[in-house]
Each structure stands twice: as structure tokens, then as C-alpha cells.
Amino acid sequence: MTTHITRRSLLGLAGAGAGAALLGACGNDDGGSADGKATIEWWHISNTDPMLSVWAELANAYMAQHPDVKINITPLENQAFKSKLTTVTQSGKAPSLFSSWGGGVLKQQVEAGLVKDISGAMPGFIENISPVPLKYYQVDGKQYALPFDNGMVGFWYNKDLFAKAGIAAPPQTWGEFLEVVRKLKASGTIPIALGGKEKWPAHFYFSYLVLRIGGADALEAANAAKDFRRPEIIQAGQRLKELVDLEPFQPGFLGATYPNPDGQAALVGNGKAAMELMGQWAPSTQAAYSTDQKGQGDKIAFFPFPAVEGGAGKITDVFGGGNGFAIGHDAPEQTVDFLKFLLSLESQRKGAATNSIIPVAKGAEEALTDANQKLVAKTVSEATGFQLYLDQAWAPAIGEQINASVTELIAGKASPEQVAESITNAAKR
């Protein structure tokens, strides 16, 4: 009997041991260097061409020059990237190199010790990068990430549809803008395409209105005071409501996405809607999701968000931001060098030549061939004030609340006062 039990016990123990070993094996996949190569895990969100191929080419070029480095690229869709990164970082890990927009999220990542301080590697290099976007990738004066592109939000409009509605020139003021919307509607065109399901395209309107009414510092001031119940914020809500009351958006805009074949970008790309308020990537996204994959080409032009009559802000104040890369805390040391390579003048020119990024390396903007992108690059570099995207500049809890509240306003489910109230609640939390 005794031997019987022992044998069984041993079997059981062996089974448990095997199970434990199996479980252990599952967790053992960090980017080690088993074959003597440093592995750079690179997650980025340029999941469509042309940048998808540009990044791949640059990585291949770097690997050819540096045989000791292996680069694994994981291209992810924007929201999928955020979800996946959150899951991974909760365990205290981070990819070697990953997309970042600086601001509040980067700050949280720094506080959690997930990203590497690269200030030491910057002298002699950073002078070549445009200073405006750079500061959004700094936390407490230290550099934790670098931008590769910096753009802005403005109206992308279809010149033919404007002409058809009898509009001679793009509007300069909010009053003129509302008039343009009325004319476009009268001409039977959808004035504005909006992807309301995703919420962030809606927050552009609100943010710009606050900047135009309260001045370039109005948003940061409200956030610093953790109080959004301010006149300029409530007025911005009221102005936005004026626009919403004209019913300028496509039918079903509350359920529409930004990409997808029936989303915001596609509506403009297919010539069904006259304009959209979007960042510098708008024309290439319009083309990518349009039925013929070509978009509206030369018919698309750019004008900055109009000034509001009597507001403190200028039409040259810019709301925007860009993309960058942060380096994970346990990344191989070659990662910094690789990032510098990605931001070299030559690499940046390659990106700029596709007209899908506004480069930050000084001199690379000359490689832009598209007149609109040149105009955006010029407007950004001459900006009188700059505000980073709110859902990036601030803690996600506030940024997401702004997106949600503005969408409620646009859906007619919340008043400007309620919007100010709920954003304040989120900021105080």
C-alpha cells in the first residue's frame, strides 16, 4: 500500500512539475539576445502605406549597416496599439521602441518607470530637431521620447464643392464659416463629415473654439486650475452648438468612424462631403479609404480654423501635435542610435517625400512635394501659439472626458454648462 501511494504521489508530483514548467515557459519571451543579436521590438501605428513601407525600409537599411541588431516591427492600428500597450505595461514591461505622442500619457509612463531618459544622448543631435514639438516629449526637463512628425489640425475642403455652392474664398471668421455651412447645405452638399463614433474628431472643434475665444493659453490655464467652468469654455460650447444647430454633418454621423469605407475620411475622399476638420494626415487617409483609392487629389485644399469675432485668440494659433517614439526602460542600448537614425535628415526626407508626415528634422520639410503639406508645415513653423491635442497633452481621464462630453453636446444630449461641469469633475478626480 505504501509503495502504491508513493508511486502515485510521485506521478502526481511529476505532473505538477511538468505543468509548472510549462507555465513558466509561457512567461519567458522577453527580447533577449540568445543568438548574440540585440533585438529591438518596435511598435508603431503607421499601419497603412506609405509610412508602413518607409519604416520597414529604414529598419532594413539599419539592420544591413548593423548586423548585430535585429528589429522586429509590430504595426498596430491606433486604438489597438493603446490597448495592447496598456496590457503589456501593466506587467512593468514595455517594447524597446514604441509610438508616443508625448504629453500626459508619457508623463504617466515616466512616473511608472517604463521609459528611458535619453537626455544624455541628445547633445549634438537635438539641435537639428525643431524645438516646438520637442518640449511635449520632455517631462521635468528630461527627454524621454522624440517626435518624428509635427502637424496641425485645420479644415480640409473640396474646392469644387465650395465653388458649386458659390463660395469664393475660405472663411476667416466663425460668422463667415457658419455662412459657408449654410451655403453648402443649400447647394445640396454635406457641409462637414464627422466621425462621431470615435469622439476625438469632435473634440477638435471644441478645443479650437476655446483657443480662439480664450487665447492660446486658455486650455492649459483651465487644466492647471482644474476648473473648466470658465466663460471662454462655456462660450466655446455655445458656439459649437450654433454650428450643430445648422445640422452640418452627414446623416448618421454619430455612428460614423474616422476611417472605414463609410467614415469621415471616405466621405470627403469620395467627394460627398465638402470639408472635415482634421490633422495633416487627412488627404492621404481620404485617398486610402475612398472608393477609387485616389481621393479628390488637387481639389482638396487647406484653411486654418477661423477666428472668432471678439475672441482673444489669433487665427495663427495652432492646435495640433505629432507622432514620436519613446524608448522602453529595458531596451537594448542600440535603440537610441536607431531612433537617431530614424530622425536623421536623410530618413526624415524619405518620410516627407511621401507627403504623409511633416518632418521635424530641420531642412527635411523641403522634401515635401505637396502644396497643402508645405502650407501646413509653414503654418506650424510660424505659429503664434501651440496647443497639443488634449487627449495627449493631459491625463487620459480628462482627455477622454472631453471627447465624451463634446460628443454629448454635438448629439444634443448635454448643454455647454454640463460639458464644463463634467470635464471639471474629471479633472478634479
Binding site: G15, A16, G19, T86, T89, L254, D262, A395, A411
Partner: protein, 351 residues
């Protein structure tokens, strides 16, 4: 489950057989079944097992399963319960900012969360009132000898095989306001005024979501019911007919009671599924417009993965867990008990 094997009066007995003779006669209600088994005997038997084999054997054989259970089931639950007491953005390490039950207080004042409960309730009522009856009707229909019934069975079951995400992507196209099939068809047959912005109108979106979920899951319940219906011996139906029961009475007093266990399980699965609804709604609407189709799972995701308020997000997940658990326990105790007699272990010292 060694117990059910060791117990000859356990699961092998068809659970519904005892009520049969009575229910075959119209007008006679259900009899309360006699309880043939004494729980004391089974406990005595368990003691014998322990004495014969000895603790070491039991421990060794239980250990691997217990270890896995603790690691992948209990561990996360305990961790979630712990995390829900903190204000935590989810980055690195364990949370430190202890706030007690504040997350739960906030939840009970959160309009979105309370709305989730209400929307969940509507979906449960619709599922039980519409989805299951449709599935039952189809199952009975496809049990008849009709031509091509095998084809119909496969066809109706097919949507269940698709993943929820694919279903949702399909229906975003079907329900798209401008180019969607639904509105095109409505316009083509001249019912323009019925064409709607299904997924972008806060007033219709929940029902649109329900239709999609029904489309996906009715086939599953249909197959369940069909299998149960085929398990009913033809003699019973014949006997009832010979006794003069018309088809309605046969259905009401023979078929329906004998389908009882399956229906009760279907209701259980349906409600638990509704409480945890996520994939389809997330892809269809993301919970919008303006939270009009948001479920608890979506609110949890929004807070956990979008706003990085992981502490509050886990509090919501705990609420989901508690609601599911309480419902499951109560339902098993009061509804499923007679179906499961002998198959589950019950609290000691009762009856």
C-alpha cells in the same frame, strides 16, 4: 466529478422522467418529486474514501488542478478585488493609492453605470421574451417532417459559428445609413419612412444591437431546443394524442414541461451572456452614440483601457462578477436545482 459516478442514482437518471405520467394528462399539475437520496449517506461514503485512500493521495491528486484553479481563476479575482480599492492608472507595479470603497460609491452614482444596468435589463427582457421564443418555435418547426429540414437546420445554426466580431462588422455594413443593405431594401420596397440611422440614433441603437445579437445566437438556442425535443419519446406524444389532446395541449402539457430543463439552462446562458456582452457591441457602436448602447463590460473597458482609471475599471468588473455570481447561485439554488440533482455538491447539514 467522482461523486456522480459513485452514486448510481445520480445524473444517469433522466431528470425529467419522474413527472411524465402526470404531465401527459392535461390539467394535472406538476408533482413534487420524492427525494430518494439521503445526503448523510453520501457524506459517510466520502468519509470512507478519505479513510481508505489516505490524505496524501488526495492531496497529490488534487494539487495540480487546485494549483491551476488558484492561479488562473481565484488569483485574478482576488487581485481584481484588491485593485478595485485603489486609485490606480495601471502603470507598472502594484497600486499604492488606497481609497477604500470610493470606487464603488462613485459607481453607484455614475449615470453611465446605472444606465448599463437598465440597458442590461432591457436586453435580458428582450432576449427572454423574443430571442428564446423564436428559437423554440424554429426548433419545433424544424422537428417536423418538412422538406430540406437538414438544410434549414444548418442555415439557422450558421450565424452562431461566426465570431461576434465578424458578425458585428457584417452588420455595421448592413445597417450603414447611406449604403447599408437594410435601408436599401426598405427603400426598394417603398418603405422609405422606416429607413433609419439604426446605429447612430440613440433611440434605436439598443434595439439594433439586440437584433444583431439575436441573429447570431438564436441558432445556438434552436439547436439546444431541437436536441431536447428529439429526446422526448414519441410514445408520450402519441399517448397524449390518443387521450384526445389537441396539438396545443400536447405542446403545453407534454412537450413544454419536458423541454423544461433545457429552457431553464437556455435562460441561464442567455442572461449570463447578456451581462457580459462586449465584443459585438464594441465593434458595432463602441457603446455609443452617447452611451446609448453601452454595457457594463464596455464601461469597464473605457475606464480601464481608455481613461487609464484601472482602479475604477476593476471596480466595475467586480460589480459584473458579483452580479453574475449572485444570479448564478440563486438561479442554481432555486431554478436549476431539480435539473441538477445529484450532479452538484450541496451545502452540508441541510435537509
Amino acid at each position: 466529478m467522482p461523486r456522480s459516478v459513485s452514486h448510481p442514482t445520480g445524473t444517469q437518471r433522466p431528470p425529467s422522467a419522474r413527472g411524465v405520467p402526470a404531465t401527459a394528462r392535461p390539467g394535472v399539475g406538476k408533482q413534487s418529486a420524492p427525494r430518494p437520496r439521503s445526503r448523510g449517506r453520501s457524506r459517510a461514503r466520502l468519509r470512507t474514501v478519505f479513510r481508505d485512500r489516505g490524505w496524501p493521495t488526495i492531496v497529490v491528486f488534487l494539487a495540480p488542478a487546485l494549483l491551476l484553479f488558484c492561479l488562473v481563476v481565484l488569483g485574478p479575482i482576488v487581485l481584481a478585488a484588491y485593485t478595485s480599492l485603489f486609485k490606480w492608472n495601471g502603470f507598472g507595479g502594484l497600486p499604492t493609492d488606497f481609497i477604500g470603497l470610493d470606487n464603488y460609491r462613485r459607481m453607484l452614482a455614475d449615470e453611465i453605470f446605472l444606465g448599463d444596468l437598465w440597458r442590461g435589463f432591457i436586453l435580458v427582457v428582450l432576449s427572454l421574451g423574443v430571442q428564446l421564443p423564436i428559437a423554440l418555435a424554429l426548433a419545433l418547426l424544424l422537428n417536423q417532417k418538412i422538406r430540406f429540414r437538414a438544410v434549414y437546420r444548418v442555415m439557422f445554426f450558421a450565424p452562431y459559428v461566426l465570431s461576434e466580431v465578424i458578425t458585428a462588422v457584417l452588420f455595421t455594413m448592413v445597417l450603414s445609413p447611406e449604403v447599408g443593405l437594410a435601408n436599401e431594401v426598405l427603400r426598394a420596397v417603398g418603405m422609405d419612412n422606416l429607413a433609419a440611422e439604426w446605429l447612430s440614433d440613440p433611440d434605436t441603437v439598443l434595439y439594433a444591437v439586440f437584433v444583431v445579437i439575436t441573429w447570431k445566437y438564436f441558432g445556438f438556442y434552436m439547436i439546444l431546443f431541437l436536441a431536447a425535443r428529439q429526446g422526448i419519446p414519441a410514445e408520450l406524444i402519441e399517448a397524449a394524442s390518443v387521450d384526445g389532446a389537441d396539438s396545443w395541449r400536447v405542446f403545453r402539457h407534454v412537450t413544454l414541461p419536458l423541454l423544461g430543463p433545457t429552457i431553464r439552462i437556455a435562460i441561464f446562458l442567455s442572461i449570463i451572456g447578456t451581462i457580459q456582452l462586449f465584443d459585438a457591441v464594441w465593434v458595432l457602436t463602441g457603446g455609443g452614440p452617447v452611451n446609448a448602447s453601452e454595457t457594463m463590460a464596455i464601461t469597464m473597458f473605457q475606464y480601464g483601457f481608455r481613461r487609464f482609471e484601472v482602479g475604477y475599471g476593476t471596480a466595475i468588473s467586480m460589480a459584473m462578477f458579483i452580479i453574475s455570481l449572485v444570479f448564478a447561485l440563486l438561479y442554481q439554488r432555486f431554478v436549476l436545482r431539480r435539473d441538477m440533482e445529484g450532479a452538484i455538491t450541496v451545502a452540508k447539514g441541510r435537509s
